[in-house]
Every structure is written in structure tokens, then in C-alpha cells.
Amino acid sequence: METVTTLGPTSPPLSVRDLWVEYRAERGLVKAVRGVSFDLASEESLALIGESGCGKTTLGVALIRLLVKTARIRQGEVIYRRDGRAVDVLGLNPRELRRFRWRECAMVFQSALNAFNPVLRIWDQIHDTAQAHGMVSRDEVRRRAMQLLEQVQLDPRRVIDAYSHELSGGMRQRVLLAMSLLLNPQVLILDEPTTALDILTQRTIIDLLRRLKADVGFSMIFISHDLSTAAELADRVATMYAGTIVEIGPVNDIFYRPAHPYTLGLIRAVPTVTGEFEELRSIPGAPPDLIDPPEGCKFHPRCPYATPQCRTEEPVLQPYYGETHAVACFNVARVQQDTGDLGARFSQSLGDSIL
């Protein structure tokens, strides 16, 4: 691997800088990811939240360069670091890229049903993967597979010789998780890990992810349209809108002190189960067309705080509260005035653990 720099052990495993991804379409270029930058710290869990079509999945897939043929990474850097060495993922040749995927950075795709080959047993799929990545000893792979399946709370003997259709949704999701950890990756990308699962199964997966992360110690990026999964699992949250990060910060800052009108809108649109009835507000309008996005701030047509400046000038991410919380909005002060009730919710939920 090509070594760019030598860094201390504390530097983040993944740094994304000014990443742009476009899709070719008949009507023109779809600007799916527009200038995204962030760092993923060691053993950190970062949630990417936003509506469908905001570029979350494209960003996740771009990090391991699994984009479809019509997509192109226009510019940017994805710096990956391990053991003091750093490489730009976007500069890897096909052989290096193969090594990078799964061994360094694994992805668990949405829809656990479609991620398996229906005519192969689970064991064959695990073995294939291991072989393709240079684990030659069949016995060793088997041992590792059994151990991983146990780690995700499955009965290895029952699962390993089964076909994917014989497993329930929650079991499949757990097998996928086990497989993603096969080669001990440092970074795990999960696309909607709990979507389409039932409440109790969802709970099992969430608890499992939390425990695995503590035991195995990987860093994780998870993509979710579901704010509650982010509230459960994230250390930091990044809100995406129209292909770019509009707000990023520690999970409690984002939920109790959101500074971007879109983040605030999302939080106000989601009901909680515990507690009394609360009024909810929807965000008017729909996400923009990414082929021909509006001028200025991409959120301004839906934003109650929009000013003439927002219509012509696009705000960039700037530190907001301390060093860790950044937001791309001209009207932070006005948004802040409206987030008081969320702060109250914070103290209330700290006060009494309900049920």
C-alpha cells in the first residue's frame, strides 16, 4: 500500500475531505454527494441521518468505492489510517482495493434478505468470502465462523448449514453482522441496520451492535432515516440534506440543542412513545431535485427561517457550540431561540427513567 504520511496512534481511522459524487442521468448530472468532510474517530459510532434521497447511502457506498457504473467521484479524499499508516482509498488500485474492502472496512447492506445468495448455504458464503480474502485453512475459517455466529447470539450449528430463506429477518441481519466481522475490519458501515425489523428484533440488533462494538472495538458509521436508532447508538450524529452535511455534533447536542432548521424539523416530526401527547410539526415541501437544486442554501424553499441571503448564498459548516458541534446555517441564533423546549425534554428525561 502506498503510504502517504506517518501519524500518531490517536489519529482518526477515517477522514473524508470535500467528497463529491455524481450520477449520470438522462436529464443531467445528479449531484448526490456535494463536498462532504468528516472524521471518524477510533471506536466511535457516527450516525448519518436524513430523508431518502439526501445522499446517505451514496456516501456510505463511496467510502468503499462500490458505486454503480453511472456514478463518478468527481473530487475529494478518503484517507484511511491503521497502525500509523495512511492511504487515500480513492487512489487504491483494484488489488489494493480488494484488500481494503472487508479486511479494513466492511459494509452491511440494507435489506438483509437480498444480501445473501439464495442457493448457497450460509457456510459456503462465509467460506467463499474467507477464501477470496486469503484465509486458506478450512478448519480455521470454520472455527472463526462458529465463534462469530455465537458472538451474535445465534446457534452456530443450526445456522451455518442453513439457506438464507430458512432464517428470520432478525437472524439474517445477525448473520450479516457476523460475516462483516469475519476479517476483523477496523471500520464498519451499516446501511439501515434495523429498518424493516419488528420492535423486539430491532431491540435485539441494537443491543447486539452496542455490545459487539464494546467487545470487538470497531468504528462504525451507520446510515438511518430513523432518528431513534441514532439516538440509541450514535456517539455523534451528522444530518445530511441535499448531498451535504448540514449539521454534525455529539448525539445529545444534536437532539437537545439542534442548530440547523432541518435537524430541528426532523426532531419535531418524530413522536416518542413514553410520556404525554405532544404536538408534532411536519417539514413542508419535499427534498430538492439534485439535478437542478435551488440556488443558495438547498433547504431554503422549506425553511421557516429563510432570509434573502439564504436564497443566493450557500452556508458552509462552521463551529457552533464548542469544537465538536458544527452547523451550516446563517440563522443559527434564531433557530436557537426555538429549541428551548427540547432542552426541557432533556432535563425531564434525565429526571425520571420511565416504565
Binding site: S168, L200, R203, T272, V273, S282, S349, S353
Partner: protein, 335 residues
């Protein structure tokens, strides 16, 4: 007149072949008063959609009866009752998937005008146009001219679901069965859609059977109504929404409420969980004896719960629970 606008009485529905039969819905009874909202909540496979389909007679009950305005919908010989058409127009459904429930080769105008013309609810095509425009305005699709000539594929998921709502409204129904009507819609748009449905309740007095797997959505939509929790084919708890959310008595409802992740980091991370004895939902082909929840229930009592099936029993005001342990704690004997 009956107390209820629509009523399910001992509904049973089985599916299968001669080899294997499963009972998807097993003796479900409930009534919905005019203007009321009742939510059916439960995990996939619990029979909530099958129940909804029987309420709208898209499925015929294997046994049991649906009553509309106090009159049975099915005759004893299994044929449709004489006033079936009144019922059919009175009870409409909104399906879960707006990508599958609209005919892709029809324009929005055609989708909305066909029922109007078929049922002769309008006298002329011109009048149909007026009504379609009115309906699109009701569901907040505007400017209307942009939508009339469009096809479903040209609309977003949220817009399509609004068209589904408008279509259900064409025949002026008194009751709408909404089957996971907002589940496939993005969070930001979900509340807007729920508010439209709520407005119909206020302005037109529409009665709802609202089917969802999402307890938070049920709470928001049916705060003044009631929630029925279903587990493998039966209702295990039925209470007013605040009672169910704040004071659930059935262990399964408690487990669900404790397991739901909340969009509030401190709340969700400090919520107390209820540890189940098993993660596996029983197969409908091999149902457990006694209470169907007993293999998973943390309060399981051998010799009672695995022997005798608990019946839905009134334990508090308007609060029905099917659980031996909860009944004893409430001081109600013989559950």
C-alpha cells in the same frame, strides 16, 4: 341502532391447504364507535392486516361476522347481505404501499374520477372534475392542475399516498381502514399525512381503524381513541391510548413499550427493559398451549399459563387484558 359503526364479532380466518392450516386471526372481536379511532398494533404476522381486510371484506372471515351500523355484512349462507353496497361505500381502505396500490397506467384524474362515475356520485364528467379538484385540495395536493394529468410514477411516495387517501374519500366513506398508511413515507412527511387524516376526522367525522406496527405513531394518531395490541392472531390488550401507553398491563405490551427505541438519547438509553425468556415468535403451525405468550413471558407461571388460555377480561375502566397474572394482580378472579 348499534352502539358501534363497525364491529368485528369473533372473527376467525385460516389460510392453507389440506396439509397445513394456519389460523392467522383467532377469535377477534371489537367495535368502533362513530368518529372514533381504534389502532391495531402488533408485530409482523400477528394478523392485524388480515383483520383489517376482513373489516373491509377484502377477505371473507372463515367464521365470525362483521357488522356495519349494527347489520351483518354476511348472510348465514355466506353470501353478501342485501345492503352490502351501502357497507362497501361506507368502509374504505388505504393500503400500505403507495407504489403498488395505484394503477400505473391511469392518470391521477382517472384514478379519482372512476369511482365517482361508477357509483353515479356525480351527474356529469364536468361535475366529476369539480369533485376531483376538491379531493386533491382536501389532501393538500396543489396546484391541482399539476397533478390531474400525471401518472403515479411521476409522484413521490408521499404524494402517492395522498392520492390513495383522496381515492378512499371519493365515495364519502364513514369509516377508513388505514393499513400502515404512513409506514413507507419519510419522517418529515409522515406527520403531514397523519394531520390530513386527523383533519378528516374533525371535518367529515371519519371513523378510523388504524393499523400500525409503530407504537409512537399509534399514540400520536389515536391519543383520544383506543389501542388494541395483537399477538399471534389474538387481541391481548385493549384500552384507551393513554392507559395503554402509560399503564400497560399485559407483559407483551409492556415488552413492546420497553423495547421501542425513542428519538431522545437520554430517555432511550435509560429506559428500563423487560427481558423476555425467548426471542422467538412462535410458528403459527405449532402454537404453544395455554397462553400463546407463555414461552417468552417473564412472568410465566407453570401449571397455569401453559395450561389455560386467558380470555380478554375487563380489569379496569375500559381496559381489557388477556393475562392470568395481570388479572390476579388486579383482583379479578377467573380470567
Amino acid at each position: 341502532m348499534s352502539e358501534y359503526l363497525i364491529e368485528a364479532r369473533n372473527l376467525v380466518r385460516t389460510f392453507g391447504t389440506r396439509k397445513a392450516r394456519v389460523t392467522a386471526v383467532d377469535d377477534v372481536s371489537f367495535g368502533i364507535r362513530e368518529g372514533e379511532v381504534v389502532c391495531l398494533v402488533g408485530e409482523s404476522g400477528c394478523g392485524k392486516t388480515t383483520t383489517g381486510k376482513m373489516i373491509t371484506s377484502l377477505l371473507k372471515p372463515t367464521t365470525g361476522q362483521v357488522l356495519y351500523q349494527g347489520r351483518p355484512v354476511w348472510r348465514p349462507d355466506g353470501r353478501k347481505a342485501d345492503d352490502f353496497k351501502t357497507y362497501r361505500l361506507g368502509v374504505q381502505i388505504i393500503h400500505q404501499d403507495p407504489y403498488a396500490s395505484l394503477n400505473p397506467s391511469h392518470t391521477i384524474y382517472k384514478i379519482l374520477s372512476t369511482p365517482l362515475l361508477h357509483h353515479k356520485l356525480v351527474a356529469s364528467p364536468a361535475e366529476a372534475m369539480t369533485r376531483v379538484v376538491e379531493l386533491l385540495n382536501t389532501v393538500g395536493l396543489g396546484p391541482v392542475e399539476d397533478f390531474l394529468t400525471k401518472y403515479p410514477h411521476q409522484l413521490s411516495g408521499g404524494q402517492r399516498q395522498r392520492v390513495s387517501v383522496a381515492r378512499a374519500l371519493t365515495v364519502n366513506p364513514r369509516c377508513i381502514v388505514a393499513d400502515e398508511a404512513v409506514s413507507m413515507v419519510d419522517v418529515s412527511i409522515r406527520v403531514g399525512l397523519l394531520n390530513i387524516l386527523s383533519d378528516l376526522k374533525r371535518t367529515l367525522g371519519v371513523t378510523y381503524l388504524f393499523i400500525t406496527h409503530d407504537l409512537a405513531v399509534a399514540k400520536f394518531f389515536a391519543w383520544e381513541g383506543r389501542i388494541a395490541v395483537m399477538y399471534v392472531g389474538s387481541i391481548v390488550e385493549f384500552a384507551s391510548t393513554p392507559q395503554l401507553i402509560n399503564n400497560a398491563l399485559h407483559p407483551y405490551s409492556k415488552a413492546l413499550l420497553a423495547a421501542v427505541p425513542e428519538a431522545d438519547p437520554e430517555l432511550t438509553r435509560h429506559k428500563q427493559r423487560l427481558q423476555l425468556r425467548s426471542q422467538d415468535i412462535p410458528s403459527l403451525l405449532a402454537l404453544p398451549s395455554g397462553c400463546r405468550f407463555h414461552p417468552r413471558c417473564p412472568f410465566f407461571e407453570p401449571g397455569l399459563c401453559d395450561v389455560q388460555r386467558p380470555e380478554l377480561t375487563l380489569l379496569e375502566d375500559n381496559h381489557y387484558v388477556a393475562c392470568h397474572v395481570a388479572a390476579r394482580q388486579a383482583g379479578v378472579a377467573g380470567a
